[in-house]
Symmetry: C2
DNA sequence: AGATATCTTGAATGAACATTCAAAAATAAA
DNA sequence: TTTATTTTTGAATGTTCATTCAAGATATCT
């Protein structure tokens, strides 16, 4: 046996960035070769093909983002302030104009979920995991009586995720930072109401 | 002088559908030739290049959707019931699984706005026009006292658009019709609150 | 009818594409 | 140290891509 020479995480993060900058279809194997430093043969040996590399990058992306998400909530004292800090971080990403601050999952949902069943499955699962985490957040907020109204944590989580997807799309068409921040604040209010 | 033989609107609607099914980058000139019935030379003569055809298709799309939007609101008696009918129609589109029922503007925002300044400009304008129409809707609703709270019509319009963008993205990852309908209902409530 | 201008045709072009493969290098097992 | 196994290399492959163009067709104007 012989193990691969390259650092898998480093390669996947490089591929992630390449995909985020140009989108899946516009990113060529040449781009991926330059970004990762891997020769074509190595990429095909390790990931089967271009789509395999995307799926692997998506998994790494979700792992990284989940860690970041949990870090934000543990850094804050409560679910309430965690949620606020989380939305603030998303607003910063939206107004950053940095392609690598976009959401790779969302980009993939819009570009290829409709066309590829395997990708659709992976993305659907990632969305559900995100939803499940947010559901726990709202459950804890309910325990601390910081939520009014009678919506279930699950419904709140769904509305939050929809709002974040929408915010990310909207911010690409309309880049006024104040508007983005205002919409995010209102989203926070609505979802806690 | 000699005018073109083909029906411009018919060609643009065919191109629209092609772009919606595969996305801009995955749609080849061969696809566009098949969809429109135009030979490559004619496409280049009339629209300069592939991107020119997309921009023309985007304008036609926005024209068509604006007409449809106005039709829904005039068909209903009030701004209030118009908004409800409009959201219902979007829910139907989201759960239809028909690529040609997606929003071409939203697809283009996600796929190319970041990469192409000219497209970004067009899409930003279309978003603002949509916002402006919805702003008028909320203004009229305010006149009839069907809105509680103190948000401005413009803020409500922005939140609505963000919600619709989000709904469209979310529905590609999670296709449960009841969930989509519930989220849309909540969006209606939040935006009128 | 003739001249002119413009559109249509569809094959040709060269670039860029994803993928393959055989040789070389490197590791691990014997 | 030898052998077996796997990865790495990077040029080669054949396909598909957006675009061009010269010849032919057609409408409008004089």
């Amino acid at each position: 046996m012989r193990s691969a020479e390259f650092d898998r995480e480093r390669v996947l993060r490089a591929a992630m960035n390449a995909f985020m900058e140009k989108g899946y279809n516009k990113t060529s194997m040449q781009d991926l070769k330059s970004a990762t430093g891997l020769h074509p043969g190595s990429i095909y040996c390790a990931f089967e093909n271009k789509k395999g590399l995307l799926l692997a990058a998506l998994e790494q992306y979700n792992q990284d983002r989940t860690a970041e998400l949990k870090s934000i909530f543990t850094q804050q004292g409560s679910a309430q302030s965690g949620l606020k800090a989380y939305l603030d971080s998303i607003v910063l990403e939206c107004i950053s104009n940095d392609p690598t601050q976009a959401c790779l999952s969302q980009k993939a949902i819009n570009e290829i979920a409709q066309q590829d069943d395997e990708a659709q499955q992976v993305l659907s699962n990632q969305c559900k995991l995100w939803q499940s985490f947010m559901c726990d957040v709202f459950t804890e907020m309910a325990l601390h009586n910081v939520l009014t109204g009678e919506r279930s944590p699950k419904q709140r989580a769904q509305s939050l995720i929809v709002g974040i997807y929408g915010l990310r799309t909207f911010s690409q068409a309309q880049k006024d930072p104040q508007v983005i921040a205002d919409i995010a604040n209102q989203l926070l209010i609505d979802v806690c109401r």
